[in-house]
Structure formats: structure tokens, C-alpha cells
Symmetry: C2
Subunit: 119 residues, 2 copies
Amino acid sequence: MDKINLAEAFSRINEFWSPQIAGELNGQQLRLAKLKGEFVWHHHENEDELFLVIRGRLIIHLRDKDVELREGEFFIVPRGVEHQPESPGEAWVVLFEPAETLNTGNLENERTKRNLGHI
Amino acid sequence: MDKINLAEAFSRINEFWSPQIAGELNGQQLRLAKLKGEFVWHHHENEDELFLVIRGRLIIHLRDKDVELREGEFFIVPRGVEHQPESPGEAWVVLFEPAETLNTGNLENERTKRNLGHI
């Protein structure tokens, strides 16, 4: 494997809400996603999910509070906790989660992405 | 859990080569470490290890090449691969690895850190 430059890798992503695999280790994946607008409310039954903002602003709505992340900030959504990511502008986000994690968690709908590409 | 601001968390680390736990998920840990100078050659028998540079410059010496990382760049050292991290100046590095990963891998010596603190 070679090193990855995050800014360069993000610059090659053209689709919003379509995580790309940037690295795999210990059964986990580091995924890169460009986010814009609102995603769907969902939860992951068995997986904790880490969001690290590289650029822009991300709001993670939880049922009891909102968590606002800016560049260089991260938050872990514990398994089972409902959340709705939202980026009012555009955000570049690193996700760290198990390889089997589905982006829409407990839901399967038109926002679901399977067979993620490698960036 | 609350969000973590990486720059703020790093600013509270006073010791080099002493990883601090900033997050735990799925049996993995996100650790923050300030690195300066050379570490020891070692490998991790069963764990892949991710290095993401937040500030400064990190060189990961491998037996067959050197990988140089600057801010916003990451590299995954696969399990079993000997490596020696070095930061000629000072580097702020995020590590993603299984919770059981020992910083000195197969070695146990004066650089070994157990019972890591939480930042």
C-alpha cells in the first residue's frame, strides 16, 4: 500500500453521500465521504461509527442533541443510537467503521450504497 | 461522549511517544501521540496500524523503503511488517489500531507504554 493524501483523495470524489474506501485494517475501513444537505435518520445495530471532519461543517443530529463538527473535530456515534448527519454547505468527512457497516444502517432505501469503490 | 477537537486535545499532551486514548469503537482505539526523534524498530504480530499526521512530518522507515507523511496524509503498516517511526522535528499523529496494540509491538522495553491515559 502507498500513503494517502486526504485532500487529494477527496478531490477525486464527485458524488455526495457515496463513501469511498481509502484504507482497510483489522476488519475496519477508513472511508471518505463528501456530504451535502440532509441524510436519513438511521442507526447501526452493531457498529459504532466515527465521523472526523476534514473540511466544512457537519451537524450530527441525535434525538436528544445536535453535535456540530468543524475541521479537525470528531465524534463517535455509539451502536444503536439514532442519528441524522447534515451538512448545510459541503463537508469532507472521514468515517472509521467496521467493513460490514451499511451507510443507511437499519434502513435499505435509495440512499443505500453497497459495493463501495476504493479511492 | 462529546466531540473531540484534535488540536485542543494534542495541546494537552506533554510527553513524546506516549499515546493517549481519544476514542474507542468496535474494539479499536483512536490514539493521539506527539512524536519527536526516532522510535525503536518493531512490528505488531496481529495488528495493522494506521498513522495519520495532523501536524508536522513523520517518516515511517520500513525495511525496503521510507514513507514520508505530512499533514493530512496517512499510511497503514500491515501486521507483521517491521517499522520505525521517526519525526525529525515534532509530529502530531493519530493512530487507529486495536485496543490491545502495544506501542512497541513485539518488544517490551523502556519505551513500552501500558495503561494508556484518556485525553
